[in-house]
């Protein structure tokens, strides 16, 4: 009889999987957080994301090129997907010359600070990197703005928080 070759990490993988299963690493859209979640129709949230993108394009003084605006299920910590809970992502590009990237991001950042956004990546504190700005607004919408590679545009991504679909 031949026994399978034991690999050293495998037992830990089984152990970890068992741990995940038994300990029930809850997270993401679990029942408690579901109860506290706002209810909204997908098209309303897409509209919310779109309006935010339009506002950013106005501040940046650039045309808003829409790459995509769509809803996707929210994922829990175990990778599970919910049929009722979703998030919306909007992806856009702003054609702005490279020489104006830093100033545009600084303008956005200053405006967001005034509106009580939490700035998580400040363009002025990231030396050695291309222009990039990340922030979260008081409604928990996440914003990511960065120079494209090569830097002919600014890429903009907006992620909504998770919402519950109206039943």
């Amino acid at each position: 009889m031949t026994f399978p070759r034991l690999v050293p990490w495998a037992a830990s993988l089984i152990a970890a999987t068992t741990v995940i299963a038994l300990a029930g690493c809850s997270g993401g859209p679990d029942e408690d957080s579901k109860d506290n979640m706002q209810t909204a129709a997908e098209n309303q949230v897409i509209q919310q994301v779109h309006e935010r993108a339009t506002g950013i394009a106005q501040v940046a003084g650039a045309e808003l090129k829409i790459i995509g605006e769509s809803a996707a299920p929210c994922e829990g910590r175990k990778g599970e997907l919910s049929d009722e809970i979703y998030t919306v992502q909007g992806s856009y590009q702003l054609p702005i010359p490279e020489s104006e990237h830093a100033a545009t991001l600084a303008r956005l950042r200053d405006g967001w600070r005034r509106q009580n956004f939490t700035i998580s990546t400040d363009p002025t504190t990231s030396p050695g990197r291309s222009a990039r700005l990340e922030a979260v607004d008081p409604d928990q919408y996440h914003f990511f703005v960065a120079s494209t590679i090569p830097p002919t545009m600014l890429g903009l991504r907006i992620n909504s928080p998770c919402y519950k679909s109206p039943s």
């Binding site: 970890a16 741990v19 992806s91 990511f144 494209t148 590679i149 991504r157």
Partner: protein
């Protein structure tokens, strides 16, 4: 017969031939694409308009058009290749001839390029050895004559090839139906290198390709070396046929249940038969639900979705691309891990969608990034299978072939490929990289990895600066010793054993500094959030995927300069 002169050869400009070659090759590609569109559009003509004189005439005309269009592809391609060979060959021979003429001049010889003769001035015979001078003259003359003969031979060969492939003035490219492809022909390709498969596929007319796709979708759909669009057609066809079969089976079972004759007394046989039918019905319904998830996932992706592999047998396999990897400048191949089945297609495809969207946002062109969810292996379950190398070795071999296939089917231009392994999937990537000539990718990324079957990134047949590893706090697979032993503690009874089991059995995790990979910063927690939308973990990987190494936030390691 070519009457090319030395003078013509020396003044030959191959650039127009090269331009013509490109034009013919582009035209061939257009013919191929148009033929595919036409075949697809005309396929249901017979169902939509089945009878009548008009219908018959239309079908005949459509078939003739399809066949002529299909037959035009290969001649156009052959003329393109021939012109390219002419341009390359003439450029080389012209340079050699120019070099010979210059060297002859350096020896004091005179070359009459119009007459193709080589002579030496009388002084050379008088002042030196006449025999040496004669030998020198004859040597250069012979070399130039031989070169000219090769140039004329090339000219003749290419002319014959072009003449043989230009359309007949009356019959055009003809409407002869090419020989049908048989199952043994396709089966012989299984396990062959993607380069061989690619050559075979290119050698078929569009009609033959279409016939092979429709007759053997289960085989063509998994052939690495067949272009993404054709694999997508084959796999979607298989999916569609499987769905139709299942529906038919479901209806048949329903009919049999309805037709059961309960008039006997006691109806024990009927009860037993009903029980069996109900079990069959449950099985078929479960299969339909599973298949429905694949259909829903593809529907959600729209035009961006390519089904590059589909097999419902066992736990099921699927390869889904978001974006076309044959035209994308950057392609990421994401390999899932433990307990992944066809059932999980939606969630896993959602992760690669996040990767594609995050990376695509960073490039000025839209859709120049593709991301592939590669479940092309039987991922292990939480049982004995995870204790062996078997699944990762099998998976590694298949992944290696898939990536080679991406390289040979790419349309040209820049292609930058990244393999991303999650959990056990990182061992599949590792097995592919460790064996033979390695994995043909530019970057290896792993997240939540239990180990990579080696203690050194340098063993992965790639510059270790192009190996990137992420590990989240609280990931019990990649970081069981971190500050999250708490998970082990939660486990009733087995907690102590698990603690002991974990002690001393870890290979080196690739995010450890001594492994030699770059550790990218992960702002998520646990084992499943490495591709969460809006996370820095996802952004860091997106920067790797587009080759913007300086932008990656590293916890340790050294990013390549470019």
């Amino acid at each position: 017969v070519s009457e090319l002169t030395l003078q013509q050869l020396l003044s030959c400009d191959p650039a127009p031939y090269a331009q013509a070659a490109v034009a013919w090759q582009e035209w061939a590609k257009e013919i191929d694409n148009t033929a595919e569109l036409f075949i697809r559009a005309a396929r249901d003509l017979g169902d939509a308009w089945p009878e009548g004189e008009g219908a018959e005439a239309t079908h005949r005309r459509a078939a003739a058009l399809r066949d002529e269009l299909s037959n035009a592809y290969q001649p156009a391609q052959r003329i393109g290749y021939a012109l390219q060979r002419l341009a390359d060959g003439m450029a080389q021979l012209r340079d050699w001839a120019g070099d010979l003429v210059a060297r002859a001049g350096g020896h004091g010889l005179e070359v009459d390029v119009a007459a193709g003769t080589v002579t030496a001035p009388l002084d050379m015979y008088r002042s030196g050895s006449p025999a040496h001078t004669t030998a020198l003259v004859n040597g250069y003359h012979n070399d130039l004559t031989t070169l000219l003969a090769r140039a004329r031979g090339l000219d003749d060969a290419i002319t014959r090839e072009i003449v043989a492939n230009v359309p007949d003035p009356v019959l055009g490219f003809g409407t002869a139906i090419p020989q049908a492809i048989g199952r043994p022909q396709v089966e012989r390709l299984l396990g062959r290198s993607p380069a061989v498969v690619r050559l075979w596929w290119q050698g078929l007319t569009p009609t033959q390709q279409d016939q092979a796709i429709h007759d053997f979708p289960n085989l063509v759909g998994w052939l690495d070396g067949v272009p993404a669009t054709d694999r997508n057609t084959a796999n979607r066809l298989r999916l569609q046929r499987d769905a139709a079969d299942l529906q038919q089976r479901a209806e048949e079972i329903r009919r049999q249940i309805t037709d059961l004759d309960w008039s006997g007394d006691p109806p024990l046989d009927v009860m037993s038969r009903e029980q069996q039918l109900l079990e069959d019905q449950a099985e078929v319904n479960a299969e339909r639900r599973r298949l429905g998830k694949v259909e829903a996932t593809l529907a959600g992706l729209g035009d961006k979705g390519f089904l590059l592999g589909y097999d419902p047998a066992g736990d099921g396999k699927a390869v889904v691309a978001v974006g076309n990897p044959d035209t994308a400048a950057h392609t990421a191949v994401w390999v899932p891990g433990l307990n992944t089945e066809l059932d999980d297609i939606k969630g896993n495809t959602s992760r690669v969608e996040h990767i594609q969207e995050a990376a695509d946002l960073l490039t000025p062109e839209t859709n120049d990034v593709a991301a592939v969810m590669w479940l092309g292996y039987d991922a292990p379950e939480t049982d004995l299978s995870v204790l062996t190398h078997g699944r990762s070795e099998q998976g590694g071999k298949a992944l290696d072939s898939f990536v080679d296939g991406l390289n040979v089917t790419h349309d040209g231009g820049q292609q930058h490929v990244t393999a991303i392994g999650h959990s056990y999937g990182s061992t599949v990537v590792a097995e592919a990289a460790l064996r033979g000539n390695g994995l043909a990718v530019d970057e290896i990324v792993v997240a939540g990895s239990p180990g990579m079957h080696t203690d050194h990134a340098a063993d992965l047949n790639i510059d270790p600066r192009h190996v990137w590893s992420g590990s989240a706090p609280g990931d019990p697979v990649s970081d069981p010793y971190g500050h999250h032993g708490k998970y082990v503690g939660y486990v009733p009874i087995a907690g102590g054993w698990l603690n002991s089991a974990e002690d001393g059995i870890h290979g080196i995790s690739p995010h450890q500094p001594e492994f030699g990979a770059n550790r990218f910063h992960v702002d998520a927690t646990g084992h499943s959030d490495y591709w969460k939308e809006g996370s820095e973990s996802l952004t860091n990987q997106a920067y790797v995927v587009v080759g913007a190494y300086d932008e990656v936030h590293l916890d340790h390691g050294e990013a390549p300069s470019k």
